[in-house]
Amino acid sequence: VRLIAAAIVLAGFARAPQPPAKASRTDETVAVQRGTRLTVDNFAGDVVIHTWDKGTLHVVARHQSRRTVRVRQTPAGVVLSASGGMGRADSVDYDITAPSWMPLKVDGTYCVITIDGTQAEVSAESVRGDISIKGGIGFVTAKSVEGSVVVEGARGKLAINSVNETVDISDATGDIIADAINGSIRMQRIASRSVDVSTVNGEIGYQGAIAEGGHYSFASHHGDVLLDIPETSNATLSVRTYNGSFRSPFAALQPPNRSPLQRGTRVTMTMGTGSADVAVESFSGTIRIGPGSRTPRER
């Protein structure tokens, strides 16, 4: 009986809720030299990065008291990481203000990444978490498996990827590669000479100029491809579909015979001087080229 009573008491202790860990805050400012890179490695939590004109990096981190956030100056730049506590299971929320010239690299898993106002290179990767980047100059890379990716006002070489959610790129300039599997890809107000967009199940929407001599490729398997480009563009359009269809109100984009537009045969049509190459493919979706083409629906 004593043994049973002791066991019940011990079991009761074992089931008793643990006291909540205290929240803690790290607040640190470090001087940084021009060209220094910021690297943030955060397993779970939010990473918000603002920018300013000062030559200092201000880091505010909210975390459990048992967790320690370190701001390390290394030869590769400033590195932010957390240790201790329950390991990676403890989330850390960062609110960082960095010089606008500071190259940024953020890696996370369950991590929402928000970067606002940067004028430097950006690399942001998350597994489950949305990524939002306003600004970015040079190489701008953003990848998420389960989260959406939004990039606004970036200039340079953009490589944007979301496996399962929407990619949204606007007011961008430069070479753009965007891809998804189940996600749609929306591009608005784009000024680029090189655009390469592909998705398997999603739709593609492009609204922007076609530059003289530019190269553009849009490909979806199941999704529609909708290009809102000026009728005055100088472009050679190569359109291919297997089970899909093609529509355009533009006089220059009326194929003489609609039958070749099936079964994957390329149909080439010329707008103006035809100086830019535009390849548009959808295995089974609708290809539509013209003004006011709707943006892809949310999935």
Binding site: K143, V200, A219, H221, S238, G264, G274, E281
Partner: protein, 227 residues
């Protein structure tokens, strides 16, 4: 669409045209978007081929090939034949080569990074059929053991790291892999109807690349989380 220059594009890429022909084709390309697109595709295949380190064959395959196509070998040694060969490819052959190289290079990168079993080269075979209008048509039947092996290796890696991944993440990855598999299957079915269709061949290759890419990404995440 096709014109008299379409069949000369391969020679143009190989720099085998006479200066006059080259100038004429240069002038033609300015006005012909169709040829420009075809040329871009050819260059894409050549670029992929250039990315792979050349390797001499482990044995002389010419006798077998010659007997298959009914040509009597006229040169005695492999070295002599190599010196005498001027190799040029039709567009479908280049597409086939590109597909093979794409799969090989993807698999080679993975095997190089993670190790793997030694494998034999894939066999290519051809028969008559239909394809892109105006281009000599050679249907492509291409088994792809390297691709299957690379996929299997990555799936095993993913399986080993499965416990370290969140179930929701696994479900999302599997859902997306299924989406690609459906696209691959639909492309294969379409190719069965029209084996020489260049669009379908490219489309299938791209879908396979997408699968490899997603598997690599997923395997890397699983490995990172498991470490």
């Amino acid at each position: 669409m096709s014109d008299t220059w379409t069949d000369r594009l391969s020679e143009y890429v190989d720099d085998d045209l006479t200066p006059d022909e080259r100038r004429a084709l240069d002038a033609h390309l300015v006005d012909c978007g169709d040829c420009r697109m075809t040329l871009a595709e050819l260059r894409s295949v050549v670029a992929r081929a250039a990315a792979v380190t050349p390797r001499p064959p482990e044995r002389d395959l010419w006798d077998g090939v010659a007997s298959q196509i009914g040509v009597k070998p006229s040169l005695d040694t492999l070295a002599a034949r190599r010196a005498a060969w001027r190799i040029s490819f039709t567009l479908p052959q280049l597409v086939a080569a590109g597909l093979a190289l794409m799969v090989l290079s993807g698999g080679a990168v993975w095997v190089g990074q993670h190790g793997g079993r030694a494998t034999a080269l894939p066999e290519l075979s051809a028969a008559n059929g239909s394809g892109e209008a105006g281009v000599h048509r050679v249907p492509i039947v291409m088994p792809d053991p390297h691709y299957d092996e690379a996929v299997a290796d990555l799936e095993q890696t993913l399986q080993r790291g499965r416990a370290s991944l969140d179930p929701q993440t696994i479900a999302v990855i599997e859902r997306n892999l299924q989406a690609i598999d459906r696209a691959i299957e639909e492309s294969r079915q379409a190719l069965a109807q029209d084996p020489a269709n260049i669009y379908l061949n490219n489309h299938l290759a791209e879908a396979k690349q997408q699968k490899l890419s997603l598997l690599r990404q997923a395997a890397a995440i699983a490995t990172k989380h498991g470490s």
